[in-house]
């Protein structure tokens, strides 16, 4: 050991007394501090920024949202923004980009299970709930910041291309709502990843959650009895929810209900993830 050892424990060690009092054993000269959530946040921040998958998923996300957003924005004219906000070009990129955040959300936790790192992590912090809480907080902060930046940038770019009175809808609110929606989706993925502990399984599940409500209604609508279910499903599907957030259809609200539902589902998944985390073996 490279830390200086106090002479006391070494003397007692010379004559190992099997029934020795706890004081006879080694005690570190450095005081032991009580750990808290701040330590876990620090650790998770180091973890998330030190793997390439973060850079790849977020890089792809930015490329998709900003790239497609700019391409769409330059093709638009002032008339296109009559009743939609300037951030609409970001919507198309976000449809694809949300899959990147979803993947990152899953990977943040399931990559630890896949590599066995989770055993090291939970040995270093047996307070498992703290680790998951830190992961959720750090992921949400990263995802929200990056997506808000991307949507905001597209909004700024679009508004700079067009006259300020081209759009009557204020677009700053859509930046936050859109970012919140995809970040919540990522949080849901993280919770699902924590429950399933398997990257491919969790990503597939999340793809189903995002895509199925947009596909299934086509079949549900064929039956009269299931029609209402199909309509509701379509209304709250991820794609149409995002469309509402970006006010693509001004009559169907601002997406608040959709955001509320997603928040509710995410909260439920997080609670389930916490319960399972404490109960299961690693």
């Amino acid at each position: 050991m490279s830390t200086p050892q106090p002479p006391m424990p070494q003397q007692t060690a010379a004559a190992p007394d099997w029934q020795a009092a706890p004081g006879a054993s080694y005690t570190s000269p450095i005081p032991v501090t009580r750990t808290h959530l701040g330590h876990a946040l620090h650790s998770e921040w180091t973890k998330i920024k030190s793997v390439r998958s973060t850079m790849w998923t977020l890089g792809t996300f930015l490329l998709l949202v900003i790239g497609i957003g700019f391409l769409v924005a330059v093709q638009t004219t002032d008339e296109d923004f009559g009743d939609v906000p300037f951030t609409v070009p970001a919507f198309i990129g976000l449809l694809l980009g949300q899959l990147c955040l979803l993947t990152l959300g899953v990977l943040v936790v399931s990559s630890e299970y896949g590599t066995g790192m989770i055993r090291t992590t939970f040995t270093a912090s047996p307070q498992r709930h703290r680790v998951l809480a830190a992961k959720l907080i750090i992921f949400f902060a990263v995802a929200f910041t990056v997506s808000a930046f991307a949507i905001g940038l597209v909004g700024l770019f679009t508004s700079s291309l067009h006259s300020s009175d081209a759009s009557e809808v204020p677009w700053t609110g859509t930046v936050f709502m859109g970012a919140l929606y995809v970040s919540l989706l990522g949080m849901l993925s993280l919770a699902v990843g924590s429950m399933l502990r398997h990257s491919a399984g969790a990503i597939t599940t999340m793809l189903g959650v995002v895509l199925l409500p947009s596909i299934l209604p086509a079949f549900l609508m064929m039956s009269d009895t299931l029609r209402t279910i199909g309509e509701k499903m379509q209304e709250y599907a991820a794609i149409s929810s995002l469309a509402r957030v970006f006010r693509l259809d001004s009559e169907s609200g601002n997406g608040g209900a959709q955001l509320g539902l997603l928040a509710g589902v995410t909260a439920a998944a997080i609670v389930a993830a916490f319960v399972l985390l404490e109960r299961r073996d690693v």
Binding site: W18, S25, S43, V51, T123
Partner: protein
């Protein structure tokens, strides 16, 4: 101080650990031994709070692991060298663990130096060899300067220099008054490192005693006696004299005699009075490996058998004589291979728990009249273990060893380096 009380872990119908109680004390290296699948890793995981025991409990310094206020500062563990995210650099891996328990970043560089990884600290651990992975795992265990250390197979994949380093590290950590709990399958390494042993088989405690007691309880110390090769009659004369005096004599392959039950001076006196010259009279202490094998042979779940290579051979035409098969290598597929317990021990100092959840019906060593349970005259009865094994052992004795197998093959066992320690 690690203390397990009645620790039991079931996975569905399989019981991995059953009613395990032991203490691991500070100031010594405690070895944790057992065959594959005997529950070592499960026990380690339960100590670290990763698996919840089905019943019983295990505490470290009086606390269950998950109640420790800052676990890495009190307990350091190496469970699996590959339990790292391969995409993260060694330094970042350790840094994230350090931050989790409020350990300053300079301590990370310090432990990287201790394990000798400072040159590859910025490299992604995906490219690490098994030995480098072990070093990284040991660095993680040392990070918090803990008073309790657990290592699961720490020397796997290490180079000889690394093995020596780990050995000295364990000893120095224990000498500082820390509790060091190490599992390993390398018996020679364990014999050099450990002071105390906890042996489990099929999830149950087989032994909890100092390494010296373990060896002397589970194997016979013997004297090797060699008479002049040129005069075989002298050898017979001495054998007769020693047997008459109450010793057990086993011939070895190279012509020497293995004598148990008589002290060395007595052997010398007997030889002198029988007018037999001796070329060698040397004391031999059995190795930890032999003692361990003897104890655990009834508790081995995964046993290799002789490869008959039948699946590779062409179908013989009817009436053809099959080619003569080779005798198996010593110890392979031979349940009763290891020599019987010394008679003075009364047969079974560590009988396998018979009422265990497994039953293990008729496993060698389970019942008193096992294959070698009544070694009334081991000198004669155990010369040919092949002849005995099929009679009372349920495990299939290889067909390659006919009843009339010549003695050379079993005798090969007796020449194994008993004094390897």
């Amino acid at each position: 101080m690690i203390e397990a009380v009645g620790l039991t872990k079931r996975y569905g119908a399989k019981t991995a650990v059953y009613n395990l109680s032991f203490q691991v004390r500070p100031g010594a290296v405690t070895g944790f031994l057992g065959p594959n699948g005997s529950g070592k890793s499960t026990t380690m995981r339960m100590i670290l709070g990763l698996d919840n025991p089905t019943s019983g409990q295990v505490t470290i310094g009086g606390f269950p692991y998950r109640r420790l206020p800052n676990a890495p500062r009190q307990v350091g563990a190496l469970l699996d060298a590959k339990a790292v995210h391969g995409g993260r650099s060694a330094r970042n891996h350790l840094l994230s663990l350090a931050q989790l328990s409020g350990i300053p970043a300079r301590r990370v560089d310090e432990v990287l130096g201790v394990v000798g990884l400072q040159d590859v600290a910025k490299k992604r651990s995906k490219g690490f060899s098994l030995g480098m992975g072990q070093r990284l795992g040991i660095a993680a265990a040392l990070l918090g300067d803990p008073q309790v250390l657990l290592f699961d197979e720490p020397v796997n994949g290490l180079d000889p220099e690394g093995i020596l380093w780990v050995r000295n590290l364990m000893k120095s950590l224990a000498a500082e008054g820390r509790t060091v709990f190490v599992s390993s399958h390398l018996m020679s390494e364990m014999a050099l490192t450990a002071d105390h042993l906890i042996v489990i088989g099929r999830g149950q405690l087989l032994a909890d005693q100092s390494i010296k007691d373990f060896i002397s309880h589970n194997s016979a110390d013997f004297a090797r006696v060699r008479t002049p090769d040129t005069e075989p009659q002298q050898r017979e004369k001495l054998t007769a004299a020693l047997t008459e005096a109450g010793g057990q004599v086993l011939p070895e392959q190279d012509g020497a005699l293995r004598v148990t039950g008589l002290p060395l001076p007595r052997i010398s006196d007997l030889a002198h009075s029988a007018d037999v010259r001796l070329w060698e009279l040397s004391p031999h202490q059995a190795s930890l490996e032999e003692a361990y094998m003897r104890m655990t042979q009834g508790a081995v779940d995964y046993r290799s058998t002789v490869d008959q290579k039948a699946g590779l051979q062409q179908q013989l035409p009817p009436g053809a004589v099959p080619p003569p098969q080779q005798l198996p290598v010593a110890g392979q597929g031979q349940p009763g291979w290891y020599a019987p317990l010394p008679p003075q021990q009364g047969g079974q100092p560590f009988a396998m728990p018979q009422a265990g959840p497994y039953g293990a019906p008729g496993a060698p060593g389970a019942g008193a009249p096992g294959p070698y349970g009544a070694p009334a005259a081991p000198g004669t009865a155990d010369v040919n273990p092949y002849a005995q094994a099929p009679a009372s052992t349920p495990a299939p004795a290889p067909e390659a060893a006919p009843e009339s197998a010549p003695t050379p093959a079993p005798a090969a066992d007796l020449t194994k380096p008993e004094d390897a320690r």
